[in-house]
Symmetry: C2
Subunit: 313 residues, 2 copies
């Protein structure tokens, strides 16, 4: 896989390339600033916990979910300050899930984003609390108005959506299904159901929260964005499974071959690499088709669909 | 300690007794119903996670935090449906914290509310996910309007308050200070700071959320309720420390003598039993003094202050 384009996929048009890369860089940088502002300083009591929370969140990660929030926010004409809060919230949920997933009682992984995992660096008890506190901070980021303004009705609706996406019928539920699936053979619908929850729910909600940060939009536009979010959510996982087999640990920043070695069901183990690639390409087309009625303002979302399917890490 | 009244404490007036006991029973029962409705059925996928979440939450616990929500709600004339959501939210946060605290990397406790702890019954990985999913469900309970109505501005403000109380400067932060304190000698201000976060923040926010469920109240009334919440929050922990030394495991439903055996700093280890009792009594008076200007509608809160200081488990 690496960096070469996949069958059936057109890479981003050359004229979009530089502008899109700049937008990504700018958006990742403003997300980093928003996270930096939200996370208590490592000089604030309890210092060790805050230091570990910052270690878990700052200075790493592709920030795919925040990029989706901002790109969907462009479609909705949403203000940047609100998007920063929503982007930080989804990234904090993602970061907490990585900290807990890496722990010995779950995936037992020692390496994440090229650094020792939180429990290796700070101990298991602190890692547990880091995850717990990051989840709370995500809801604080979303619920508390940006710049100390009054809370809004939209914020409450967004908290409810984020909670469902992160909870037992969403991300945490997907993890639970994943646990129970080790060593078992899932069929394709069961594998898809697991990934729609485990990874898909948070990518989908990132798109929806970005849209909810703007003015109310017609139901069919929100439905189109949601279909896009669901397609790239699943594509993301298919590509992850391919990279787990074909990538190397240095590029990935985590242990490659982990899922296949631990006998977890994956798209590659079920379909093989070639068929998995075809599936990723089909989901990419599905995502782009969903965006068609949204026109030019959806350009960033198209770029992100390309990125998610073409990524090498 | 057990059930006998402590020096300086007037027990609830006899004529209040039966009515108060009925109110507690009724409120605990409606909290149980609210939790039962909010928690997905054990037949919903992923079944094992949902079964474990229900095991962790239903059919046990004193429901002190929900009682505080409802009692404060009476002062604010809040509607019962909104109070049920807030009560369930604080109890879900409390339940998640117990599941995670009991795990081997934290307190490593095998018994809770007289039953095997969640990780003993379901394994560590599931216990971690149970805690994670219960935290998300708490925010969903608070953010989503009762009976499927539209979300409200108050719900967003309440989510922000709950997040701060549960997070790194609140409950999770208190846990972190507690971890670092094992085997060290804390002075009284440091011990108090730890407990204001670890237990106090959630009791305080229970009172505040109950009040926020009603119509906006004058700042000084909210300040009085907050002072009450802070005083009983600390009293609760002082009494917990006394019970850890003087209670027995059967009455407590958890392992007695655990804190002293693990060399954790406690009020009893720092002040001795007699002085700890005097401190609990002083905090009880402080709580009741704060309620004085609120008159008759604060009767339930007075009853709960008595209960918290006089409890034997």
């Amino acid at each position: 896989m690496r960096a070469e384009p996949m069958t059936g996929l057109a890479p981003a048009a050359p004229q979009q390339g530089a502008d899109f890369a700049q937008w990504m860089h700018r958006t990742a940088a403003r997300t980093e600033s928003a996270l930096e502002r939200l996370l208590p300083s490592a000089t604030v009591v309890p210092q060790r916990l805050h230091e570990a929370m910052r270690y878990a969140v700052l200075g790493g990660g592709k920030r795919v979910r925040p990029l989706l929030v901002h790109a969907a926010g462009e479609v909705a004409g949403a203000p940047a300050a609100a998007l920063d809060c929503a982007a930080a919230a989804v990234e904090l949920i993602h970061a907490y899930s990585l900290v807990h997933d890496d722990m010995p009682c779950m995936d037992d992984d020692a390496l994440r984003r090229g650094k020792p995992t939180v429990h290796v660096a700070y101990g298991e008890a602190t890692a547990m609390l880091v995850g717990d506190a990051l989840q709370a901070l995500a809801f604080e980021a979303l619920a508390a108005a940006p710049d100390g303004g009054a809370p809004t009705v939209a914020a409450a609706a967004m908290c409810a959506e984020l909670a469902r996406a992160a909870g037992s019928v969403g991300m945490a539920g997907g993890q639970s299904i994943d646990l129970d699936a080790v060593g078992r053979r899932l069929d394709l619908p069961a594998l898809e159901d697991m990934h729609r929850r485990k990874t898909g729910a948070m990518l989908r909600v990132s798109v929806r929260l970005g849209a909810l940060c703007g003015a109310a939009m017609p139901v069919e536009r929100m439905a189109a964005l949601t279909r896009y979010g669901e397609a790239i959510g699943l594509a993301f996982q298919v590509v992850d499974d391919i990279l787990d087999v074909e990538g190397d640990s240095t590029t990935l920043g985590k242990t490659a071959g982990k899922d296949s070695a631990s006998d977890k069901p994956t798209y590659v183990s079920l379909l093989g690499v070639a068929q998995s690639r075809r599936m990723a390409a089909a989901l990419h087309r599905e995502a782009c088709d969903a965006l068609a009625p949204l026109g030019a303002p959806a350009a960033r979302l198209r770029g992100l669909a390309d990125l998610i399917v073409l990524r090498s890490a």
